[in-house]
Symmetry: C2
Subunit: 251 residues, 2 copies
């Protein structure tokens, strides 16, 4: 009846090329956690990116004049970081007041294209967002099924800011096994009135919840979730959480 | 070590004037849940608004010509609802494509000023957002301490849409007992590098997590949280989660 989030502690510091799905299964077993059908694993984007080699040494980045100018206009950002961000950018959404918000990847909108220096392998490296977190989530889910027999959903998450609100929360980038959105339209509320507008972003809510256990100094990159009921769905994508530009009033 | 969210089932259908803090304490006891220091209660805005009489009969609402025109421009919304929304509105943020997003209350930005027909007491009523959810959270926290001796934090939540993302998640409106934002600036990451940009919106993440158990047809208005470490803080407000207009790039 309760919904239980458990931090997985024993994951080693992940290096490029490491087999992340196997490391996760191993860490779960080492913690004595026996997976069952319906469990969910939320995996922090940072370990996904590291294992997939999405790590760049800043000294190898040669900023273009445009990146240098933008870095300066933004109040003195590192031009090499701005260069990396622009390489990941489909479209600049805002570049103001020291803040660079862009559309990246399949349409994610976030600060600095998700390029991050914190918890990167060495002081002069930056970590980029994974190229296909849906695929990574699917691989983790498949490895879990092969090694343990359990049908689990997997969410790859990252920590982002939001318009209108202070502070960061975690969002779902990649999803496997479960629908990212729970569509309640057509169902009835407690008074048997039809719910018209209720599409619940369950994968984002699960990511936000797991984020409570993933503070950056905690060393927790995987959170196990038990007790949330979801329907298995084979062909899903975290892209379902991205509002198409044509429907978005805030770009 | 785990973080446990438990839905509280036995709350009656709340009516205007009902003593919500006492009803919550009673429902917790009826479920055999014994509160301890450090627990958190997340309470759905809807029961707060109902108990505080923030319910309006639509047949008593006389829309102004401006509300009628806006309702029409938005593709045929109920002009009485638009009238209610505009009465709650500090500033219209967007009125396009059938969507009316406004700044309301102390600066919350959400669709329709949070005015909602679902789970309202009768088909022709609408529920408005509470006037001072911080105060309500404080009252619930005080009643819990008086009746059980436990020091708990309380969050009043509501379900809103977001820019850039599909689907709704839950946000924190009112907060008592805990800081809504966890400020990690100055702390070190796993590689002893200083975290520069990490202010974590923990009250929003807790609200989002509780929302997983508060689907509109579930009849769950209160969720109990155990296992999240927070520091007690007497003078807090959910307003800390609202980005000031002068710092917001998306209004």
């Amino acid at each position: 009846m309760s919904l239980v989030f458990t931090p997985i502690q024993g994951l080693p510091l992940v290096q490029p090329g490491d087999p992340l799905p196997e490391l996760i299964v191993h860490a779960l077993a080492a913690q004595g956690l026996s997976l069952t059908d319906g469990d969910i694993l939320v995996v922090c984007q940072k370990v996904v990116s590291k294992s997939e080699g999405r790590v760049v040494e800043l000294r190898r980045v040669d900023p273009t004049p445009a990146s240098r100018n933008l870095a300066l206009a933004l109040g003195g950002k590192d031009p090499r970081l701005v260069e990396l961000v622009l390489r990941e950018t489909n479209r600049i959404v805002r570049a103001q007041r020291g803040v660079l918000i862009v559309e990246t990847g399949p349409g994610w909108i976030c600060a600095n294209a998700g390029v991050d220096e914190s918890n990167s392998p060495s002081p002069d490296t930056a970590v980029l967002l994974p190229l296909d977190p849906d695929l990574t989530a699917q691989r983790i889910s498949t490895t879990v099924r092969q090694k343990t027999g359990a049908e689990v959903a997997v969410i790859i998450s990252d920590t982002w800011g939001r318009p209108w609100r202070n502070g960061l929360v975690d969002f779902a980038l990649g999803v496997a096994g479960m629908e990212p959105l729970l569509d309640c339209r057509g169902k009835a509320d407690l008074n048997n009135r039809e719910l018209h507008h209720t599409v619940f972003a369950q994968a984002d809510a699960l990511a936000a919840a797991a984020g409570l256990l993933m503070q950056k100094d905690a060393g927790v990159a995987v959170v196990h979730v038990r007790g949330y009921r979801w329907q298995s769905s084979p062909h899903v994508s975290g892209r379902a959480l991205i509002r198409p530009a044509t429907e978005d009033l805030f770009r």
